[in-house]
Symmetry: C2
Subunit: 607 residues, 2 copies
């Protein structure tokens, strides 16, 4: 497994230089304490913990996996000890409300901390990561009593939480959920059913686990309108808050998976387990979305995390391993061959990884601001930020995990045959990354969420021109002739992005027109529309980074001009080599749904 070094310089560049988090935090009700010094200290301490405590057990965790013995799940060697250190250092409570024992810092800081932990050891980070979804759901939908009872030990990290949605017969289609909730008549319920794919469903890290479970009340309407949410602890909770006897929540088996083997993926059996209802009756799906949006941004982080780790490994290997001579002449004549990094095709793969990682990180850090504003702003602004984040979330989750998987594969490819051998750790990154396009809504579901829900149903198409309006304002501002900044160096970015903003609007309009007569036009276009949106969005963020980099170079006063020059070079690479992919996606989707939909189900194969 490649050694992990937290990319602190890049993170600080985004936080302090590109997105001005310093001012952002200063205006937040809960941002006062998040001064630049505190932010940097949190980054550095997160990095220290991640690099020294959990990165070293990433590969061993994969080799060892989780074990189920006597109905109890054991995590790999070192996982519980690392979690004890994490909890004792107060990390779980970082960005949770002070009224439940949290440190009350902005949510974005929690996400950035999570990115660092996740890059060091994705499987380990899933345990505290999934707990956040349960916490947020209880925080928003729970009664005061529920919050007091469950949130305090969750926030402190004494307990962890999970979300129990999927059942054997249904993943995405939660309307098919069969788990039953029977009222006891005293306001409590008995939950009976089987849930599958429950990450952290059981483990040895905490004494109790709080499950948030989707289930159906007797006589509830069919489909998604008859589903409610319940809080079901693994162990009953005594009146004094201490852990009591078993609540009949058991792990039936552990899934054998391609990767994230150190993360316990459980089949969970609830057998008359005591529960309380969370949120209103039959409104479980709506309440669920609170969790889903958090989880989807958490999964988007996975794209960047695996891309970063794979890039670090590939870069180090490309500098150390020597093979063949550069086509343009010997670069290391004293050595038997030139380092891989001198070969153009290896540079293509490394730069693709770099452009994906840094571009993706910029997209995430921008979105994280909306999460802060939604959590603390006034309710009137909430809708505005929810809309903005809602539009970006499927792009972040869908596009960044697809590119993260691509990047993980490039990193492995740089190693040649050695990449396929487990000891190097590069193939583990690919296996771990592979889940990211599947869970928390597949790529196809993200694409439908973006185009079908966010663009067409919720905004009647306006979400796109609103967003491209922002891009066009950026272009106008930096226009080399008419803009207020008159940036000649940004000419190419302004030209390309202006054209692509218009193209994005045009494509959206075409799909809207087609959808009037053929709903399949939406499903047929969704994937390519999301990928097109992702490439243009990432291009816009590269342009923003480049604008800052030129500023810094022009106004001097910085110690590392090479850092800014590298940003500019990488952005140019993105424009030259990655952004052209939008052409293929635009062309594919404007070709319409006919060839997708016209083949008979029975004509896919002939024996």
């Amino acid at each position: 497994m490649p050694e992990f070094k937290t990319p602190l310089r890049d993170m600080k560049f985004l936080l302090h230089e590109v997105f001005d988090y310093d001012s952002h935090y200063a205006t937040l009700p809960n941002g006062e304490e998040a001064t630049p010094d505190v932010v940097d200290a949190i980054l550095e301490e997160s990095a220290r913990f991640a690099e020294s405590e959990i990165a070293p057990i990433n590969q061993s965790g994969d080799e060892e996996g989780c074990k189920l013995e006597d109905g109890k799940v054991t995590t790999p060697k070192g996982f519980k000890e690392a979690y004890d250190t994490y909890r004792d250092s107060g990390w779980p409570s970082l960005s949770h409300p002070t009224e439940y024992g949290g440190q009350g810092l902005p949510m974005s800081l929690g996400l950035i901390k999570h990115e660092i932990m996740a890059t060091a050891n994705w499987s380990w980070s899933m345990y505290p990561g999934l707990s956040i979804g349960a916490m947020n759901t209880i925080f928003i939908h729970g009664t005061d009593e529920q919050k007091q009872k469950y949130l305090n030990p969750l926030v402190s990290g004494e307990w962890m939480g999970t979300m129990c949605l999927t059942e054997p017969q249904c993943g995405t289609d939660l309307g098919q959920v069969k788990t039953k909730a029977e009222p006891n008549g005293d306001g409590t319920f008995k939950i009976t059913g089987t849930k599958i794919f429950i990450s952290s469903g059981d483990h040895d890290m905490t004494d109790n686990i709080i499950h948030v479970v989707l289930a159906r009340l007797p006589g509830a309407p069919e489909g998604t309108r008859g589903i409610s949410l319940f809080i079901v602890p693994k162990m009953k909770i005594n009146a004094d808050g201490s852990v009591g006897e078993s609540n009949n929540v058991t792990c039936g088996s552990l899934e054998k998976k391609m990767g994230i083997k150190a993360s316990a993926t459980c089949v969970m059996n609830f057998d008359g387990s005591e529960a309380v209802m969370l949120g209103p009756e039959n409104k479980g799906m709506e309440c669920m979305f609170t969790f889903m949006n958090t989880a989807r941004i958490g999964t988007a982080i996975q794209g960047v995390a695996h891309s970063e780790l794979s890039f670090q490994g590939a870069l180090r290997y490309a500098k150390e391993r020597r093979s063949m001579r550069s086509l343009s002449g010997k670069k290391e004549p004293e050595k038997p061959a030139d380092a891989l990094i001198y070969h153009a095709d290896v540079r293509r793969m490394l730069l693709t990884q770099k452009a994906i990682t840094e571009g993706g990180r910029a997209m995430l850090y921008h979105a994280a601001k909306f999460a802060d504003l939604m959590a603390t702003g006034d309710p009137e602004d909430y809708k505005q930020f929810d809309d903005k984040l809602g539009f970006l979330t499927p792009i972040l989750k869908g596009f960044l995990t697809e590119l993260g998987l691509e990047s993980a594969n490039h990193g492995m490819q740089v190693f040649g045959g050695h990449g396929y051998i487990r000891e190097w750790g590069m193939e583990q990154i690919v296996r771990d990354a592979r889940i990211s396009t599947l869970y928390e809504g597949t790529t196809g579901i993200q694409a439908l969420d973006l185009l079908g829900r966010k663009v067409i149903i919720l905004s009647r198409g306006k979400a796109v021109p609103e967003y491209t309006g922002e891009i066009l304002r950026f272009c106008g501002h930096h226009n080399p002739i008419t803009g207020s900044r008159k940036r000649r160096v940004l000419r190419r970015y302004v030209t390309e992005l202006s054209q692509l903003a218009v193209k994005w609007n045009y494509i959206t309009g075409r799909i809207l027109m087609a959808a009037r007569t053929d709903r399949d036009a939406v499903g047929a276009a969704a994937y390519d529309f999301m990928m097109f949106s992702g490439y243009v969005t990432m291009g816009y963020f590269w342009a923003q980074m480049v604008a800052v980099a030129y500023d810094k170079l022009e106004h001097g006063g910085n110690e590392t001009p090479e850092f800014y020059k590298a940003k500019i070079r990488t952005a140019e690479f993105y424009l030259d080599r990655i952004l052209p992919r939008q052409m293929a996606h635009a062309e594919a989707l404007t070709n319409g749904p006919r060839t997708l939909m016209s083949l008979d189900n029975d004509s896919f194969v002939f024996e």
Copy 2:
């Protein structure tokens, strides 16, 4: 693991209807016996063996893997038994010369048989598959004595062979090979050194293994000009041809890999092992290429094989699994949800798999004809066929394995979260497919072989206009207005392919110009050039298939018009949805090498 059904209908379509193998075989010196009936019988018997004997041990082989105990490698349960049946049925000798005990049938039949076996169980198929490389190398470069001694038991399958190239310090860059060959003075040699990544380096399937080994004679020139080939048997061979005592060839360890776990990937130690030289002194690299071309086509088969198997699994699941309702209205109102296959985005993935599989297979079967002609044609024609096959080989290997991996991932994606769970077998296909872009020359090496060697060095750019000339002749023939066939239904294919043929020529010319002043222009363009070439070539083969399909539909007399209609639909899908990717590759490569090459090695990362 999805059940495997040999796609016999598609194979027969290509052999009998598209490529007219019936006439091809009739004109081959060794094709007389390969009548259509015999060909079909071989396909059907191969299918029977593959489906009943080796497909059932594909997943168990992955779970069990190979074991090294007391210096001996054991293959997974059932592997040896299946091989015994294979050998006793005479399969190894199918397309080898009769003078060494072979059945003397054309090489293409051997490749197609191999495709069937490979789809059923790639790891198993590697054992007899790699033996072919050793056999071909000995057949072409061996002395009569060597052929008599080694080829007979290899052809019968009594023994197997390997190729030992890679060493710890070098994979692609074989000029760094250190393994020593010391002359004994009697025409024999002692080989000492360590080879890694030796597939089938040791196993329990045969009593002896014949290693073809790259090694360096004392005082040989440095680099690739000082490397010779040697035949090194695992066990010495007695004068009567029986297996004698150990030849100090031992397996030091087995690699732990991402996939192909049932294939033994060995570290092989040669410790003064007795050997004879194969081919001329210091010409080992040239002799090696004989093997490499075979191996590369064998690996191109892997792309199609994994794509086929993954497609079969995904298609079956998409018809059985129900989730959500189709956007255009309920398709199965009596069921709780519609089958996945009704959803546009699932169809996109399935059709992509289908287009890749069938398009790739067509490319392979076309190339296999050249292999036949090279093996049996007169020496004057050899160069012509070698050039044609040499141009196509890196496209087949590089492009088809990249697309095969993509297809395997689509198949897994159709399963949603279940695709990540091992019991379904879909993730194994991805892990098994992942090696195909790495071994036998990575994708980057194939790209350089195509653009740098085949196009620029060997043909001075002419290889492309020669090939596009063929495409343009096809377009001219089928032109709806001026062509001899005047095919209105082919209008779109003719239009697009004509434009792309011209674009391919233009791009090649641009790179040639750029390469005059900057050799890095070749390396920087190579990957995108190869992918562009692949997409256009596959488009050309889809057009050929469509031309035949329309013929069949127009002239009736066939029992399955749906088969031909499905071909046409799939071709249209390819044009609409896959071929547009050429735009991105063309744009990327014409942007030139600057942004690839200009970033300092030290500026890739800042801490």
